[in-house]
């Protein structure tokens, strides 16, 4: 940075870059290899070649095979429906609660706050069994509802919004009340737009978590047409539908990984914020420069 002398042309820098570059390549290796295998003829992969030679024909074969054997697009649509529904409901529920906790004094507020904090620390594996039993009794297993319902309450979202809303100036709220805003209008028209970095980061946090989740769909979903991408791919791998076609399996992997990876590359800042949100405090407000 600033204090680096320019006249030291840097054995250190060369070595550092060499180490980091090799490490980065190892980190990226599975991505690269997955993509390569998905466009390489079967036989060549099985030969254990060190360098693969991709071909358009093989790419076509693999992707078409994958799409014809497993409803991958359907899985992705399911994933999108589930993630978007969860996100919208989470925000609809968490934002007003976050606002109430930040700005409205009401009896029971400390109790609710305690509940929220406990709620955000309990991993899904703990309430999973009773939730499963409840959904079974309600006849809701194997449905979108089963995939969505347990996650519409996000203790984490409430906590995050509360932290963010708490910094909103009280005088502006008073002005809004005089201007005729209802409390709900304050949430939707003032709080959320002003807290949009928090909303964006939370959206990333939520979508990444639920797009990638295998645990819950594995428990509640049996019907292939309701499977989410990870469950669908795991099933595709195990069921023998891939018929040992590694290229096709990798093609499936590429397809379900691509949306988030592409989004990540375009919206890195929000991704990093969103993924590291679980830092108890509000990282968006930390005095650190952007990272």
């Amino acid at each position: 940075m600033f204090e680096r002398q320019t006249n030291r042309p840097n054995i250190e820098s060369v070595v550092g870059n060499a180490i980091l570059m090799s490490a980065a390549l190892i980190m990226l290796l599975p991505f690269f290899w997955m993509a390569m295998v998905s466009v390489t003829p079967q036989g060549e992969v099985y030969s254990g070649a060190l360098f693969l030679t991709p071909s358009l024909q093989a790419a076509q074969d693999n992707y078409i095979f994958a799409l014809s054997r497993a409803p991958l697009l359907r899985y992705m649509v399911n994933g999108a429906v589930v993630c978007i529904s969860i996100l919208i409901l989470q925000i609809l529920i968490a934002a007003p609660a976050g606002y109430a906790l930040a700005k409205l004094p009401f009896r029971g507020r400390p109790l609710l706050m305690a509940g929220v904090i406990i709620g955000l620390m309990i991993p899904i594996q703990v309430p999973a069994i009773p939730l499963y039993i409840g959904l079974a009794y309600a006849g809701l297993l194997d449905s979108y509802t089963a995939l969505i319902l347990p996650f519409i309450i996000s203790g984490f979202g409430i906590f995050l919004f509360r932290q963010f809303f708490a910094t909103y100036p009280d005088e502006v709220l008073d002005a809004a009340r005089l201007d005729g805003f209802s409390e709900l209008a304050i949430v939707w028209r003032l709080m959320l737009p002003a807290a949009w970095p928090a909303v964006a980061a939370f959206a990333v946090f939520s979508v990444v978590a639920h797009w990638n989740d295998l645990y819950w769909p594995l428990i509640v979903i049996l019907r292939p047409e309701l499977m989410t991408p990870p469950l669908g791919l795991a099933t595709f791998r195990q069921s023998g539908d891939s018929a040992g076609n590694i290229g096709a399996l990798m093609a499936g992997g590429v397809m379900i990984t691509a949306p988030l990876v592409v989004l990540f590359i375009f919206a890195q800042k929000h991704f990093i914020r969103g993924m590291t949100l679980s830092r108890g405090k509000n990282p968006l407000n930390s005095k650190g420069k952007s990272i």
Partner: protein, 409 residues
């Protein structure tokens, strides 16, 4: 509603003389015996205040005296433990802030940070006159009825923007504007819905000095034209003196005196009031009133016009302009030592110390006279007998006046 704005535009175009501007608002304000406590702290102690329709009253006092709380109680943002607030004769004590029809300009302006000026100004109308359906992002514009509403709001925002000359930055966000511009936008947001009352909480505090005087004049003219009853809170007595029809002076949760600027300046009810309205500060000398009714100050008998109660002790207060320095001893003067001279533009202040009692006083002189006095020189202080007041210890100077003013409400 729109009539006012029309008349404003006319006024703006100078087709109507200032004197013709109609005082339209017919809403007076009465605050009756309001008490407000925060825990054990009493912010407002049986405060009563009455404004005639169209009047501009400043509430002045040191910070923490309860003046902002009073404004918030009037707006309905705080609720007093007891007492009543009436707007236009109707009690609003149990009416929510949004239904009181008051506009509030906050010290911080409290603009909506993510909205541009246009939307800030439009917000009160959007929230009051549009239904939830009208407000929907796209659908709202498609319904014919709501399109008309949107157009009407658009027209009114433009009228207000014209009036306040803020058209150039209608599409700037608060963070992109200067303090003065933000202040105008905040004013626009208050004006647009033609409120029954304007409540202004130190609206000039964040402006620099020259802009403050300019804006003050504009606000005064605007208020006169609109004729909207206005309560103006400030800690700056000069501002209050310059703007107000009347001033209410608050100390520790109570209104100590209310009256025209001139009345307060010339006739303070007590020492606090006199002190608050003096610059740079009030001169105070302990005095004893002899049985014959003469004031004995620092061993001198001084003639004094104010009512003096024989046989009492108290304080004589006089402003820097109520005394002068003379180079030679004269009757009823005190020998003093010149300690310090301060230039203050047209005038200057001479700080002196009484040789007899070591009390210090400040004397106002014209600045061109500064060369007449040197630090360390001796001089004689003469108090103008017709000015200045006597404040008996532990009593108000003018009990009568306080009674009359406050109980009339």
């Amino acid at each position: 509603m729109t009539n006012t704005i029309k008349s404003l535009r006319l006024a703006n175009a100078n087709t109507v003389k200032e004197s013709d501007a109609i005082r339209q608002s017919s809403y007076g304000l009465e605050v009756h015996n309001v008490t407000k406590k925060f825990g054990s702290f009493t912010a407002l102690d049986k405060v009563s205040l009455r404004l005639e329709a169209g009047e501009l009253v400043s509430v002045v006092g040191p910070s923490g005296c309860g003046k902002s709380t009073l404004l918030r109680v009037i707006a309905g943002l705080e609720h007093g433990e007891s007492g009543d607030v009436r707007i236009g004769g109707n009690s609003v004590t149990h009416v929510s802030p949004r239904e009181r029809g008051v506009a509030f300009v906050f010290q911080s302006y409290a603009l909506y940070p993510h909205m541009d000026s246009y939307n800030n100004i439009a917000a009160p109308l959007v929230m009051r006159e549009l239904s939830a359906l009208d407000r929907l992002p796209f659908i709202g514009r498609l319904l014919p009825a709501s399109r008309i509403k949107h157009e009407r709001i658009h027209a009114r925002v433009n009228e207000v923007a014209d009036l306040l000359q803020i058209k150039d930055y209608l599409h700037h966000k608060p963070s992109q504007m200067s303090g003065g511009q933000r202040q105008r936008v905040a004013l626009g947001r208050a004006l647009i819905r033609e409120p029954r009352l304007f409540l202004l909480d130190e609206p000039f505090a964040n402006l620099d000095a020259s802009l403050r005087i300019h804006t003050r004049a504009e606000l005064s003219a605007l208020q006169r034209r609109l004729g909207t009853t206005t309560v103006f809170v400030t800690h700056d007595q000069t501002e209050a003196m310059a703007l107000s029809d009347r001033i209410a002076l608050m100390f520790a949760g109570k209104i100590r005196q209310i009256g025209t600027p001139d009345d307060l300046y010339r006739n303070p009810v007590d020492l606090d009031v006199a002190k608050f309205l003096s610059q740079p500060h009030l001169n105070m000398l302990p005095a004893e009133i002899t049985m014959s009714g003469r004031a004995l100050i620092a061993g001198e008998h001084v003639p004094f016009a104010d009512a003096l109660k024989p046989g009492t002790h108290g304080i004589v207060g006089f402003r820097p302009e109520h005394c002068r320095l003379v180079p030679r001893k004269q009757p009823h003067t005190f020998p003093v030592l010149v300690e310090r001279l301060e230039h203050a533009g047209a005038e200057a202040h001479v700080f002196v110390r009484l040789l007899a009692t070591h009390e210090s006083c400040v004397v106002r002189i014209a600045s061109y006279q500064m060369s007449d006095w040197q630090v360390g020189a001796s001089a004689w202080l003469s108090i103008t007998a017709s000015e200045g007041w006597y404040f008996p210890r532990a009593a108000r100077r003018r009990e009568d006046l306080l009674q009359n003013e406050l109980v009339s409400a």
